[in-house]
Amino acid sequence: MRKSSFWLRCVIVSILPSVVFADMGDTLNIPAVSMFLVFVSGTLAITLWAARRTRTASDFYAAGGKITGFQNGLAIAGDYMSAASFLGLSGLVFASGFDGIIYSIGFLVGWPIILFLIAERLRNLGRFTFADAVSFRLQSTPIRSLSACGTLTVVLLYLIAQMVGAGKLIEVLFGFPYEFAVAVVGVLMISYVTFGGMIATTWVQIVKAILLLSGASFLAFAVLWEVDFSFERLFQSAVDSHASGNLILAPGQLISDPISAISLGLALMFGTAGLPHILMRFFTVPDAKEARKSVVFATGFVGYFYLLLFIIGFGAIFLVGANANYLDANGMIIGGSNMAAIHLSQAVGGDLFLGFISAVAFATILAVVSGLTLAGASAISHDLYASVFCKERPKDGSEIRVSRIATIVLGLAAMILGLSFENQNVAYMVGLAFAIAASVNFPILFLSMYWKKLTTRGAFIGGFVGLISAVVCVITGPTIWVSILGYAEPIFPYKHPALFSMSAAFISIYLFSIYDRSPDKAMEIEAFDNQFVQSIVGTIEEKK
């Protein structure tokens, strides 16, 4: 570990001055940059500390299973509350009112489902990745290849969306050029994950969650202060200032037809239960009981955060949207509706608080991309390298080395993709990631634990059907086919594919399992009973 500490120090020494002395012109936001530097120094110190504690594969992937339920709940919240949800959802409430609430609810309702059906059994069956649990009784090679494909697709889509969002945001907030912002995010996330593994990632997420929750609490409090803590006045002021008037208090344009509404609802609810970076967090706690606690705390923090976002979004309508300082010549908000929360922070707390919220937004991005990169790296090193390539017998220490290399490769890929998608519309990517998680990871994980007759062949073929149908539906749908490729009519008429791709996945998993004639089928079904006991009881050696 001495060697890695050395390299980590090199990163610190080379990044800090380059940020401080980079000549970015007079747009540089000094309070924001200084607060961000404090965050970076703090998290790099955590990483140094974590690097000394990262010795085994279990430390690297799962923080040695030593995180408590409360800590993990905060870390999950830190992993899940992305800049997209902070700025995007408050921006959505700012722009269209109630529609933003619909999305936030969708992002939250998956959590109880994870708790009731997934979290404890997952913890009892797996070690580092959700594929561990699925391959408990199914064949490792096909299952891990499938889940690595599902994981990497979700991770890369999510990473691109975060990287492009980060580049744009940092460009506006800090006055750094786009390329420099993407590079800083990339280098920092590679440092956290490569050196500090899950321990560093967890603590970065915890710190970020605390910062984000405090920042958002202050913003919401300031908004409520303006309206004397009267919700009637809050909504009245918002309606008076918004061009759509009281239409903002009812479902609007965003969800236009019943099929889209249902499909979006499915993707949000079950996508959450299939996100690899979230599922992975359940292995950082010692047992199922702590896994359970993590979800309660996570749901509490995330739910509280969304309640704050409503107040922030509606507050921004009259505090930002009706304030000429934040509007351009055409009366539109400067920087687009995603900047609503940022402008609001200046409106209620001045430049210093603006700096704080900007730094928090940057920290948010870093925490989320680190979690994603770690999940992607473990799909490569644990599922593909150690389990498929080495047939579960990797040479000592080689797995952790491969995971570090995979982290660096993924980080570089994220930076390159972030640069090449700079001027593309990436808003659909998180939606697609949720749809894929709901159509690949969720069905195989759920059915492996709840449906005895699931076979390897059924899961493998059905999982790929889900993956391919989700991708094809989005490519031929309105977002890519019409808006990006410029065709007049979409082939697939709906914006949200989950209703169709999830059905395709479940139906084909069912059919290919039932009509499976492979020799292993009987053994896989028989092993369900043992898996079931294991999933309920967990590791009883510790209890004796």
């Binding site: 609810i105 939250l108 408990f136 490792s140 009637e232 909504f235 006991v533």
Partner: protein
């Protein structure tokens, strides 16, 4: 017939331990109670959320009706907040019951079976 290609997964117990536990009457009863409880709460979540989604899908204007005369607040707002609070509360209910009841019953079974 758990075989050894499962080594990378969770810890694997001995075959007779599995059988001893799974054939135990109290274990079966506990699993049944717990599973029913989980599915009941899952049902509550699914019904509440998809009722909301179906209203948005088929009759969105319902959510735009003010909750009473003289207020601007529409039904959509309290219903939305209710769903958020429900998610938070229902997870708490589940964990409370697991901690108070199911965990104790499980450890009794394990110590009685002496596995």
């Amino acid at each position: 017939m758990i075989d050894l290609h499962k080594k990378q997964s969770g810890e694997v117990m001995a075959q007779d331990t599995y059988e001893k536990i799974s054939l135990d009457f109290d274990f079966q009863k506990l699993v049944k109670d717990r599973t029913n409880f989980s599915w009941m709460l899952t049902g509550v979540m699914l019904v509440s959320y998809y009722t909301f989604i179906l209203v948005i899908a088929f009759s969105p204007h319902w959510l735009g009706v003010p909750v009473s005369t003289g207020t601007i607040i529409t039904w959509g707002i309290p219903i939305g907040i209710f769903l958020i609070i429900l998610s938070m509360v229902i997870t708490g209910v589940y964990v409370l019951r697991c901690n108070r009841e199911y965990d104790g019953r499980m450890s009794e079974i394990i110590s009685r079976l002496n596995v």
